[in-house]
């Protein structure tokens, strides 16, 4: 007998999405704002249900769905991002004709990510991965009249589709060598895979497939363009949510299904992690578009998280998993703060309208929109790893685990990169507080303010009171060992 209560978060998210799609058809554009509140409530309910079910362990549907510490933790990450995004989108979708489609796509993408987190079978993992990808392709191109949004969506679609083809090709070899698609059964039958060259081919194809989603260099080409081109609220979902889906899929497939090939993928991830964090930070320094800068900094952060695959001690995995939640709040919030500035520029009709997220738009933001400036400061300092923020705790655990495991070189590279990243984060803060403003003080729209406050609260709570989160991350890491 299947206990459907364990799937309550997923069911809530899908049901909310379907209800919104259905009733949105009969509503006039002016009343459609209600849908945003409905979506946020649904996500909030799912978030509460997920937190309640922490500690449950179960296998369902012929062992294809696994409810464990890892799946619950990542569901928390995805739902937190979905909450930040759907609250902020209330303002973004104001007076839009397509509100219901937007929220349905966001909720379905979240659902796909949640299923990837608990997938215990490659068929389910691939289907859920595609569900989340297809929904985000459509979201990236949501502004149909905006050439940048379409260009970002086109690049995301072409590269995303190629990556899923690579992934499917890799999965087909894993299936061929082991005769099964179930993740625990693959781990048992992996002896043949480890001996034959098929194993190496499969690992390369799978790393390429997941690497596109995780935006590891050299599979990152789409990420800066798509994050810059898409509407800022969607960039927030992509950078904070969709990227984590790549990580949880890689955790499940490489660590749980292919431990027999650990030497191969560990080596590959070591190179990818170092190249990704260095490239991301170096290129971010020269960016003038803030969204693009955040995109490159997001690459760098993915490089830090990928260190978990290299070090592979329980502490490193705890750090990597904790980092995903911290990064969800920091990066999700930073993109929402950018969305606020873009809204300010486009409604005030002042400044650089071609590139509304240009660094110059942040001039004197501390005077014109104090709340947005303050929360942006919290996010960028957290991303840089200033103490008493979520980013600091995450980096502390992850980097010290590398030293403990005898990989001091990796920790040194990571710390040097963090120091470099402080340069472009501090430059943004300088623009916001030390340069004179161009306009007058502007009232913050409530949805943006609420969304920023949720993200700031997440960053600060994880910084000042990390114990429960570390405990949950430890439970999640326990599944992988």
């Amino acid at each position: 007998m299947v206990n459907f209560m364990l799937l309550a978060p997923e069911i809530t998210v899908v049901a909310t999405g379907l209800i919104i799609l259905l009733i949105g058809v009969f509503m006039s554009p002016r009343t459609k704002n209600v849908l945003g509140y409905l979506a946020s409530l649904g996500v909030l309910a799912a978030l509460v249900l997920t937190i309640q079910s922490f500690g449950t362990v179960a296998l369902m549907f012929y062992d294809t769905v696994s409810i464990d510490g890892l799946s619950q933790f990542f569901k928390l990450v995805f739902l937190a991002v979905a909450l930040i995004v759907s609250v902020a989108s209330i303002k973004y979708n104001e007076n839009s004709d397509h509100t219901e489609e937007f929220y349905t796509l966001v909720l379905f993408a979240t659902f796909g990510m949640m299923v990837v987190a608990s997938a215990n079978d490659l068929i389910l993992l691939f289907c859920a991965f595609e569900l989340a990808s297809l929904a985000t392709f459509a979201l990236a191109g949501f502004e149909k009249q905006n050439a940048k949004s379409l260009e970002g969506a086109m690049k995301y679609f072409v590269i995303g589709a190629v990556s899923s083809a690579l992934m499917l090709f890799g999965i087909s070899f894993v299936y061929g060598a082991t005769g099964t698609t179930s993740i625990p059964a693959i781990a048992e039958n992996a002896a043949f895979l480890a001996q034959s060259p098929i194993g190496i081919v499969a690992v390369v194809l799978l790393i390429a497939g997941f690497g596109f989603k995780m935006a590891l260099v050299p599979f990152h080409m789409w990420a800066p363009d798509t994050y810059q081109g898409s509407p800022s609220v969607v960039s927030s979902l992509l950078a904070a949510g969709s990227k984590k889906m790549g990580f949880v899929a890689a955790f499940r497939v490489f660590i749980l299904a292919l431990p027999a090939l650990q030497v191969d993928w560990q080596f590959a991830f070591a190179i990818l992690a170092v190249v990704t964090m260095t490239f991301g930070n170096v290129v971010a320094v020269s960016q003038t578009s803030v969204k693009r800068m955040l995109a490159y900094s997001s690459l760098a952060q993915a490089g830090y998280i990928a260190m978990a695959f290299v070090v592979m001690t329980p502490m490193a995995l705890t750090g990597g998993i904790f980092y995903t939640l911290a990064h969800a709040f920091m990066k999700g919030g930073a993109f929402i703060a950018t969305a606020t500035v873009v809204w300010m520029i486009t409604t005030q009709r002042t400044g650089n309208l071609d590139v509304p997220d240009h660094l110059d738009s942040f001039r004197g933001l501390g005077k014109t929109m104090p709340l947005a400036a303050l929360s942006m400061t919290v996010f960028v300092f957290a991303l840089a790893g200033i103490p008493q923020t979520a980013g600091f705790m995450a980096k502390l655990v992850l980097f010290s685990s590398a030293i403990e495991a005898g990989m001091a070189w990796l920790a040194v590279i990571a710390v040097l990169n963090s120091a470099l990243s402080l340069f472009y984060y501090a430059r943004l803060v300088r623009y916001m507080y030390f340069l004179p403003p161009e306009g007058k003080k502007i009232g913050m729209p409530f949805p943006y303010a609420a969304s920023l406050l949720i993200a700031v609260a997440g960053v600060l709570i994880m910084g000042f009171w990390p114990e429960p989160f570390l405990q949950w991350a430890m439970d999640a890491a326990q599944v992988l060992i």
Partner: protein
Amino acid sequence: MIPLSFYLGLSALLFSIGLYGVMTHKNGIRIIMCIELMLNSANLNLVAFSSYTNTLDGQVFAMFSIALAAAEAAVGFAIFMAIYRMHDKINLDELNILRW
């Protein structure tokens, strides 16, 4: 019975043709066709392995992936339609506003 390696060789060839096409072609429709070629070569692999390992999982997987490929093409064409309405063509190499 045809040996397994023939199927694997054919699918590897199709996959390579698809990947080459994605990288060299400029027209959106051709790129989608090449992506379909890559996905179908993976399906061929799955079905061949399914027959040779005497398990059914591969055939079921192929069914799912055919359906997903159709959905993917639908989303892709929708994006290309929107691009066509704006630029009157879908030459993807001419879309280059976003760059560093």
